[in-house]
Amino acid sequence: MVKISRREGRAAQLIEHHDFQSLFDVLKAKKYRLIGPTVRDGSVVYDEVARVDDLPVGYSDEQEKGSYRLNKSDDHRLFGYGVGPHSWKKFLFPPAVRLWQARRDDGSFQIIPEDYHAEPLALIGVRACELNAIAIQDRVFLDGEYRDPIYAAQREKLFVLAVNCGQAGNTCFCASMHAGPRVTGQFDLAVTEVINGESHYFTVEVGSPRGEEVLSEVPHRPASGEEKALANQIITQTAASMKRSIDTRGIKQRLYASFEHPQWDDIAARCLACGNCTQVCPTCFCSTVEDVTDLSGNTADRWRKWDSCFTTDFSYIVGGSIRSSVKSRYRQWMTHKLATWIEQFGTSGCVGCGRCITWCPVGIDITEEIAALRAEKQPATAVEAAKEDVSYADV
């Protein structure tokens, strides 16, 4: 994906709902493998899609702390749900990948590098928070002294079809993280889905020459002022309806000053240290390595796998784990996301997608915990105080 800023002044375009399949066909003809949301085992996941019908057509989701439910209705909305347990990171930063293989031969061994072929992927339906998550991982994997070559190779082979959110999930708080719900760049094409009486269309913004080229092969027409305004209104409403938020003012200093806050003990009493939050988070980037030897012992594979700072092994050094308590591990996770990340990468590590809230088995909510930490008072009154401290109305 080429990074180009939106060209101002270019009239928004429009694709009718019945022409949307043609967008898929054009991308396929251009040799992209299409990846998009689809329903599997009761949730929206990201996987290969061939047709518009493979999308979760007519589905909406109900998300709450520790719960997720899909509902089906008769409408033909293609993007009427929020983000599910998957994020696009699994395509750029695979959950498990073999780095190289060592082959033994008579007391010595050779190291054989892995040939990794990135294939062109068209990501269908990428949300604003997710684009921001990719931008954050770009800094992690591409901007350092060492780049992750797997990420780099796949990153160059993406076509991004972004979508502006037509509804906010209950656990979303992207607006307060300045990460959504409006898509603002880093895409090839961005659409807003509009259903207005009998009409069902997508307004389209072009974000790159590649997007332009694809659009030119799909039936489309300029959007009228009214059609554009409707689309705009939808996004504004989405932002306004968001219930959760994080007050990010001075958050770094606040967290540093909260190292001994009693709230960490309170969280630790609930947290299972299962690491679900790190698995579903679109920005979490930690990995470990594993050596796997075959039965003959003549080949040894070195794998890289997703890891979680919630395990004791994560910080193990001889003599014991540095973060042996659950308290210290949750503190590390949240402090990293919202504070040290800013120093390391010049951006927050959280885009407010809400996944960690929905998929936490015990319903720990990062927005509530931050609010409690911001309250100077003792644990018993922290929740009350938090209500005064953070206003959900001003989002």
Partner: protein, 292 residues
């Protein structure tokens, strides 16, 4: 470089290879010896080039033992010797024990060097105090080599070394040689005397008070267990050494050494990239907290 009877080893060199930054290079063990009961040194020669990569004192490598694992180990050899990579390792667990079983002609793989270095250039014209505990002398030895090779550029040079028992004293011959120098003060102490030991007994921190250096014009390099470093820095501060002039080398779990795996985080720092050598003033507030 290859021994005629050893099978040839081909290491990929294409820099555009996908696994490149995590891809180690092959080395052959040229010499293996036990320094103490549990600590051994390996001298390694590179198999895919003539020279080892240039390194600065204090930097480390990721060392891979076939099929067992990969761990961070400091480079403990003379930085001017490019033909030989030296690692001194304490056998404490899975990978280090497997490493200790390697014999001459065996192979291992390593990548690096990584991390920050001891400030040997910045310390010109200053007194140098090196404080090491146990295996902590290994990452400091390249700094000693450098300082001794450029002796005229420094003021007084003091080495304070503490080991658990006389049997645990690392690089014993070398310490004796260094002690014979008129322009170097070497003090060795053990926690617990055994056998014929007639030297100093007590913690290494007890040597700081009477060591000959000018606290206001000193750069201190400290490496050892974290508690030892905490007390050492306290002792140095008490003598009047500014925390900005004290350097410590930290140990954290490391899986990549290239700032990508997240394991070595310590506050906002990545120990593999921002460390292992830190200015004490930079990490003091973190080091005095638990479970950071």
């Amino acid at each position: 470089m290859l021994m005629s009877d050893a099978p040839s080893i081909t290491a990929p060199t294409a820099s555009d290879r996908i696994s490149d930054p995590m891809l180690p290079s092959p080395y052959r063990v040229q010499r293996a010896r036990w320094d103490t009961d549990d600590t051994f040194s390996l001298e390694l020669v590179p198999l895919d080039s003539d020279d080892i990569p240039h390194f600065a004192p204090g930097q480390f490598n990721m060392v891979y033992v076939y099929g067992v694992g990969e761990i961070p180990i400091s480079i403990s050899g003379d930085p001017t010797r490019r033909d030989l990579l030296v690692h001194t390792t304490r056998a404490v667990g899975t990978v280090t024990r497997a490493m200790s079983k390697l014999r001459v002609e065996d192979m291992l793989a390593a990548r690096g060097p990584y991390g920050t270095a001891w400030p040997v250039a910045e310390a010109h014209q200053k007194d140098i105090v090196i404080v090491a505990g146990g295996i902590g002398l290994a990452p400091l030895r390249p700094a000693m080599y450098h300082i001794m090779a450029h002796r005229e550029q420094y003021g007084r040079v003091v080495l304070l070394y503490g080991a658990r028992t006389p049997g645990d004293v690392l690089y014993r011959k070398q310490l004796e040689q260094w002690r014979a120098h008129f322009d170097l003060d070497v003090f060795v102490t053990v926690d617990r005397a055994t056998g014929s030991w007639r030297g100093s007994v007590g913690l290494v921190t007890s040597l700081i008070g009477r060591a000959p250096f000018d606290p206001l014009n000193t750069v201190a390099l400290v490496c050892g267990p974290e508690v030892m470093m905490r007390f050492t820095t306290m002792g140095l501060e008490k003598r009047g050494v500014d925390t900005k002039n004290i350097y410590v080398s930290l140990e954290r779990n490391m899986k990549c050494a290239i700032r990508l795996c997240g394991h070595c985080q310590f506050g906002s720092t990545f120990v593999c990239k921002d460390g292992p050598v830190f200015r004490y003033s930079q990490v003091q507030s973190l080091l005095t907290k638990w479970e950071v």
